[in-house]
Amino acid sequence: MFSYLPQTEKDIKEMLEVIGVDSIDELFKDIPKEILQKTPLNIPKGIAEYEVYKRMTELAQKNRQGLSFMGSGSYDHIIPSVVGHVLQMPNFYTAYTPYQAEISQGILQSIFEFQTLICELTGMEVSNASLYDDHTAASEAITMAVNTRKKADRILVSGTIHPNTRAVIETFFSDIPVKIEEIKTENYVTSLDAVKDTIDESVAAVLIQTPNFYGWAEDLTGLADLVHEHKALLIISSNPMSLGILKSQADWGADIAIGGTQPFGLSTYFGGPSVGYISTSTKNTRKMPGRIVGQTKDVDGKRAFVLTLQAREQHIKRQRATSNICSNQALAAMGSGIYLSTVGWKGLKEASSQSFQKAHYLYKRLTEELGLKAIAEQDFFNEFTLVIPDADRVLTDMESQGIFAGVGLGQFFPDLKDAVSIAVTEKRTKEEMDAYVELMKRVLK
C-alpha cells in the first residue's frame, strides 16, 4: 500500500486526455456554480517532513495530564493493554467494511461476539453489529418505533436524557412529521405521572435514560406496563457499565435497549469515537438498522460466521429502506468486545461496583465535609451532580492544579451554571479522591 500517490502535471494531463476532458474544473461542471468554492483554499505552503514533525511535537507537548473526574457520557475506566494490542493489528485497523463478508471470518466473529455480549448485558434477544454512538442509537430506535406504529406520530423523550442525544434526535426528525415532546422532570428524574398524563395511542415511543444525564438512577417501576397499554415502545438508554450492578433494560421491560460502549475498553479521547449499541426482541429484528452476524456451520461442519441480515438498507430495500445507516463501528466495537472478554463478567461486576463505591465515597466527603449540596437527593451509579457556587472558576482552578473536577452543566443549560457533574471510575484511588477533596476545600475558600 502506498502512503501517498504523487501526481505530476504530466500524469494529470494524461488522465484528463484518457477520459476526454480539458481540465480538472470540468469534472465539477455538474455542481451548481453558486455553491462552488471560487477562491483557492487558505492552506499554508508545504514544509519539510522534519519541520512538520517538530511542529506536531510542540503541539503535543501542550497537552496536560490530569486526573479525570469528568463523565457525562465518556468515562475514564481502566483499559487492559491487550485491547490496544488487538486494535493495532493492521489486518483489523486498516480494513474497511467487508463487502464480501464471509471471506472475512475474523471480523464477522468479532461482530458476533460483540452482539452476544450486548444481548447478555441488556437481557435482550438480538443486537446489531453497532452504530456510531448512543445518540444515533436513540434516533434509530425511535425510527424503529415510528415504523412499527405507523399511525402514531408523537415521541415522548425524558427531560433527563443527555442534551446531545436530544440534539441528534431533533436533527434526525427535523424533516419528518414526528413530534418530539419532552417529559417533565421532578427533582431531576423523569416524572412517571407526567408520562401517564400525556400518553395515548398517538405515542409511538417513550425514551428514557438511566442513569440519566445528571447521574441519577431512574426508578422505572410500572413504566413498561403503562407504555405497552398504549401500544407504544419503551426505549431505555443505559451506560453499559452500570448494567454490571443495576437492572438491565430487559429487567425494566424495554422494547429497545440502547447506549454507548465507550466505558468498555475505549479511551475518552476528545469525546469519541464511542460505539452505539442497539438491541431488541426477536419480533423487532427486521426493523433494526444495520447488520446482524450469525453463527452457522460450513460445508465441513466447522463453526463459521455469516452476515445473517441487513435487510433495511440499500441491498434489498433500496428506496423503501427505513434507515440509511449501514455503518457500524467495527474497530471500536471490537475494542469493547476485547475488553469484555478480557475482564469477564466477574471483572465487569468488579469495575462496575468499584465505580459505584468510589463515587459514593467522594459524594459523601464532598457533601458531608465540604457541605456541598447535590442538585437533588437521588440514587446514583458512578456519577452525581452537585451545586458548586462559582463553578466555572472552581473547575478552572482545579484544572490548573491537575484535576479535571467535573463537567460544568452550564454549557448545556444556562440556568444550571453552578451545577457540576462528577464521575468516578474504578481507576481512581482513595488517595486521588482524597486529593480531590483537599484541593476542592482550598479552591472553594
Binding site: R286, A311, I316, K317
Partner: protein, 126 residues
C-alpha cells in the same frame, strides 16, 4: 399463471377474497413469481383504519422489498400470523396465504376492482 375466478384483483397485483363484509387480502401468483423467494412479511397492526390504495404493509423477498396496498377501505380485523415464521407460504400458496383482512366500510369499492378475466388481460398487456 394461476388466476382463481372467485377473487377480485388490483393493478398492484393484490387479490381480495370477500366473505360477507370482510375482505381477505394477499398477493397474486404473478406477484410472488416476480418477487422470488419471500423471506419476510411485515404484518400490519390490528384495528388500523385504512383507506383503499393506502400502503398497508411491506413484503421482502431475496430480490426486493415491495409495498402491499389495501384494495379496500375499512378496519384491519385479522392478520395472518402463520406468515411470521412461514413467509414461504406466500410463494407456495399465493391464494391461501392472505396477509390481512379488512372489515370493509364501502362495499361498492369492490366494483372498481378487476375480475379474473380482466386481471388476466391486464397481465397480458403488462
Amino acid at each position: 399463471m394461476n388466476i382463481p375466478g372467485d377473487l377480485k384483483y388490483t393493478e398492484g397485483h393484490e387479490w381480495v377474497r370477500v366473505e360477507g363484509n370482510v375482505g381477505y387480502v394477499g398477493i397474486t401468483d404473478h406477484a410472488q413469481h416476480e418477487l422470488g423467494d419471500i423471506v419476510y412479511v411485515e404484518l400490519p397492526e390490528i384495528d388500523t383504519e385504512i383507506e383503499s390504495k393506502e400502503e398497508a404493509t411491506n413484503i421482502e423477498s431475496v430480490k426486493a422489498a415491495a409495498p402491499v396496498y389495501s384494495p379496500v377501505s375499512g378496519k384491519i380485523v385479522k392478520i395472518n400470523e402463520d406468515l411470521e415464521d412461514n413467509s414461504e407460504l406466500m410463494n407456495t400458496d399465493a391464494y391461501g396465504a392472505y396477509i390481512f383482512a379488512v372489515e370493509m366500510s364501502d362495499l361498492s369499492e369492490l366494483d372498481s376492482l378487476m375480475d379474473a378475466d380482466a386481471y388476466k388481460e391486464f397481465l397480458e398487456k403488462e
